[in-house]
């Protein structure tokens, strides 16, 4: 691939300030059981690539499946970029790298037969379906993919990275007359097939939770003190805060960047938030991001103070900060944009039971159905909820959706637990149509006051 890329770049270097070429080859398998039936089993192969060119501050981008005439794609990208460019191009300086990164998997899922994968998932599906007569249906979705990503730019970088990914999602659907409830359990990984062989407790838990939800009352709407478990705490920090740390929202917007000024107080001194793409083999990890920038550990909040943000080469240069290795593209169809990797709240020192104490009427919210944010307003749905009464976890409640303003909510975090867990789920993060990008998140238990919960 390197020769093809270099040939396409060679004659064009002078007509743009910067050019990069990316290609991806991928093979993927999906197995989906629904209810008693195997709903879908399929295999796909994908190959594609893209060219991005920067001319006088304007970006042109072309993505494609046909590599026949790569030089023509480079020309096209430069041509559309030239329609925009009226100013000076700015990119943070990095030293060119040449590296080929292969992944050795312990039990490579490409070597496991389709039958073995299917039998294993069928077994999990049976666990869900046979666990209780009130289980009406299920979804067991297994998917794996192995991608190789090739990258070269006009500054002399060439990086090849192999990226394995596999996930399983278990949904149990329970029904009692018109009352239909469901619960999800997921697992995601960048490692071997081994992890898939020991998750029968996840299947059992999905069924157990769905049955329990049948008995749960809808939560009463209002303002509560809530405790978030590690999953929901992780989703909260990712959704509500993490997205605002992505510098592409800020760098050309004075008012936004004013709100996100480094050094501003964001929470109590107990609050520390990190994004780290360099942790080995988590869902959001890679040695280099999709601009060939080395990933690293970045503090976003340190001792309650806004300490950093996430950058691409362009946003770093424009804000006069260091690049952080956070330019990521979902796949070859898309251009890299600023994204999180593995984002978490560091441990505090309050044990779980101390977080509960003193709460007269509150909510313990666990797991997650999903979350969304637009700038300062966030909303996310708990997969499971319980009322807290006089410091004790009591009756289950359902349809718990938490919402609020990021800035006040972070300041309202009044307790940080000491039980951090990184969550690797099969889902991912969505932004600008690029969904789901593999990321991980985590948190210790968090106690937050004055959270609005929607309810009937």
């Amino acid at each position: 691939m390197r020769e093809i890329f270099e040939k396409a770049l060679k004659n064009r270097k002078n007509s743009a300030d910067y050019i990069e070429i990316r290609a991806e080859k991928k093979e993927a398998t999906t197995i989906h059981f629904q209810g008693e039936k195997l709903e879908k089993i399929n295999c796909s192969q994908q190959a594609g690539g893209n060219v991005r060119a920067l001319v006088k501050g304007g970006w042109g981008f072309v993505s494609f499946n046909q590599f026949d005439d790569l030089e023509e794609k480079v020309r096209e990208a430069i041509k559309v970029a030239s329609l925009i460019g009226k100013e000076e191009s700015k990119l943070a300086v990095i030293s060119p790298v040449v590296e080929i990164i292969n992944r050795e998997l312990d039990k490579d899922f490409r070597q496991i037969s389709l039958r073995e994968k299917k039998d294993l998932m069928e077994n999990y599906n049976n666990i869900i379906m046979k666990s209780n007569p009130l289980i009406q249906s299920s979804n067991v979705i297994y998917s794996d993919r192995f991608s190789t990503i090739y990258f070269a730019n006009s500054e002399g970088s060439y990086v090849e990275q192999e990226k394995p990914f596999l996930s399983a999602r278990f949904t149990a659907i329970a029904r009692e007359e018109d009352n239909v409830q469901m619960a999800n359990e997921t697992v995601g990984s960048t490692k071997g097939f081994g992890i898939m062989e020991k998750i029968s407790t996840k299947a059992q838990r999905a069924a157990f939770r769905a049955i329990n939800l049948l008995k749960a009352q809808p939560v009463e709407g209002g303002e509560y003190t809530v405790i978030l478990d590690q999953t929901l705490g992780g989703v909260f920090i990712h959704e509500a805060f993490g997205h605002l740390s992505e510098a592409d929202f800020l760098y050309e917007d004075e008012r936004m960047s004013g709100l996100m000024k480094l050094g501003k107080k964001f929470g109590s001194p107990k609050l520390n938030v990190v994004d780290d793409g360099s942790t080995p083999d988590l869902l959001g990890s890679a040695k280099y991001d999709d601009e060939g920038v080395r990933t690293k550990k970045n503090y976003l909040i340190k001792d309650g103070i806004l300490a950093g943000r996430l950058h691409s080469r362009e946003t770093a240069a424009k804000m006069g900060e260091e690049p952080t290795g956070n330019a990521r593209a979902l796949n070859y169809r898309f251009k890299p944009i600023v994204r999180m990797t593995n984002t978490y709240v560091e441990n505090g020192d309050t044990p779980f039971k101390d977080l509960l104490s003193g709460i007269k009427k509150g909510i313990y919210a666990k797991d997650c159905y999903g979350g969304m944010t637009t700038f300062e307003t966030f909303t996310f749905s708990a997969g499971e909820g319980f009322m807290i009464r006089d410091g004790e976890i009591t009756d289950p409640v359902k349809d718990v959706v938490l919402s609020g303003n990021l800035f006040t909510t972070l300041l309202n975090i009044e307790g940080v637990g000491n039980d951090l867990k990184m969550i690797e789920s099969g889902g991912g993060c969505g932004k600008a149509g690029q969904n789901p990008l593999p990321v991980s998140w985590g948190s210790p238990h968090l106690r937050i006051k004055k959270v609005v919960v929607g309810g009937r």
Binding site: L114, T379, V401, G454
Partner: protein, 437 residues
Amino acid sequence: MEKLLQQVCKEVDSAELFEAKSKTIPVNFEVNRLKSIDIFESEGKALRVINKGRIGFSSSTGNEDFDLIVEKAVATSEFGSTASFDFSRETKRSRKEKINVYDKEVVDKSIEEMVKVGEDIIEKMKDFNRKLRYDITILKDYTEIEYLNSKGGNFSYNKTAIVYSVMAQQIEDQDMLIIESSLESGKDNLDAKELTSEIIENLKWGDKIVPVESGKMPVIFTPKAALVLILPIISGLNGKMVLKKISPLASRKNKKLWSDLLTFYSDGTIDFALGSAPFDDEGIEMKRVPLVEKGEIKNFYYDLQTAGMAGVGSTGNGLRAGIQSEPIPGISNLVVEEGKVSFSEMIKDISEGIVIDQVLGLGQGNIISGAFSNNVQLGYKIEKGKIVGRVKDVMIAGNAIEELKNIVALGDKAKWIGGKYKFPHIYLKSLSVSAKK
């Protein structure tokens, strides 16, 4: 294509080949100026086979050897579901003969013209308020679809789309007002003025923040927000959800559930709507399928396989969510019939309530049960028959199946949303609203 299919049929009973090729060009403006121009080209093939009575599927983009696709499709058929259908022998439209989904002017529209459209919108918005941030995308899309099966069914068509979308953002202290609006069509006939005047009206209404107290109150969903109520119903009418008995609507066919005012249908034959096509993605004629008539469920919607399992016919709703997906029941376009009351009359009718225009968390949560719970990202307070300002930190929650029983009126002017939904304003007698104290 025919040759490839003949090659497959040496190994399996029957087969179907679906090919899609597209070119999408968005021109993006960020923070009031032109930022990037993208060209997305894509092409791919999907092969579905029936082998010894079982379904196999495989897909590919790029230049892979066709043999490999065949091999994988055959391999998956070993475990695949038992086929409860045959590929359609005839792909001929019996009703409306021609569905218009292609406009050459969209294909011919130059990037320079698209840039100009975006620049004009920004100028128009700046004339109203120079201090706000505007992000704009002007997009055009051209797609070619080709379909062929070994039973004789075959069709092909070309399709175009054009989209103008605008986001206006106003920041004061720690308050952000975000207004999003877009226009979509298969034909190059969009009027940017429609967009800018709607956004300017919303900016005026949203200027002042007013408090609201928790409780039950009358609400109006604008066409943009109506999906909050309609999405859970669409999901409950999906033939697959009905077949698996997951849908709470499964046993409600031909029973009166909602007000007489509520009538809606799926319709893939509307000229230049984005969900329209002569055939669905497995060769069944697209048509108008009444889903709810005067508050009664009339039909569920099906693809071939689900219909076969349920012992009914496909409704022409077998859609693919991309080249890697097999057809599943999906909605082409959805039209909710208009009522007789104007938006301003609805407002006048309310002494205290809210207008819901944009929500966060659409489709999040336990949709199939009918439940919804959303942050009102953009909503307005009504007092004594007048809009008095914008609400903030407010959530709405309910169960769509229940709430739709409380329709007071439907708007007299339905609007296209996302190019495939046509919704009027929906005025509900009462809905639960939670607000920050």
